[in-house]
Amino acid sequence: MSEIFSFTAAFIAVQIFKIIMFKKDKDYSGYDERQELIRGRAFRYGFLTLAFSLAAVMLWEECVGALPIEFSLLMMSCLMVGCLVVILYDIWKDAYWGIRQASGSNAAIVLMVAVMVMQYLSFRGHASAGDVIVDGILTWDGGIYLLIFAFFALIIVNLLLKAWVDKRGGSAE
């Protein structure tokens, strides 16, 4: 029952995120050939990163031994690293993954910070309950919140860095 509630809540959150993000940037929902080209490359790099990271994890576990991380969390980490490659490549190549297309559009960052705060609070709850590391293994229950926190933190840092680099370089003329 709680899983159904979680998935429903996540679905609603994604729909709200889409409405907020693409309302301001609706002019860019059309075909931008340069951005499509970059996103195509980003997806290729993301897929390759995912494949190599999964292979590396499997190889490590076969040759060296099990990592002190729960298997499902390990797989999710590989998936998120692949997603990060797609997103960061888009950010640095000015394809922006559909966000911050218009200057001064900070709604995405505000939403991501809100998600990070929620993840941090959940992590703290699990940490105080003592179920983050059990028998020397980082568990899904504790680790997933840290993982999502780090995921969004990296995106925000890169978005802000790119904005700073653009400002210094005077990209808008």
Binding site: D27, Y28, G30, Y31, D32, E33, R34, Q35, D94, A95, Y96, Q101, A102, S103, S171, A172, E173
Partner: protein, 65 residues
């Protein structure tokens, strides 16, 4: 190679990169990349830019060898 012809044509119409981007239906970053010579646009986008700036393809995109 920088596309200074396109940049000057845009400036002559007193358009910002954002305004030109809105006219041709792409992002400001794409217009910036074309002017900086970082991106080689397709003929479809070249024509859209020429129409928006009231210039011909030759005037904006032809490079003398």
């Amino acid at each position: 190679m920088k596309n200074l012809k396109m940049k000057s044509a845009r400036a002559a119409l007193d358009l910002s990169q954002q305004q030109l981007a809105d006219l041709v239906g792409v992002s400001r970053q794409t217009i910036n990349a074309i002017e900086k010579g970082d991106y080689n646009p397709t003929i479809r986008l070249c024509i859209a830019i020429c129409r928006a700036l009231n210039r011909t393809l030759d005037e904006l995109f032809w490079e003398e060898p």
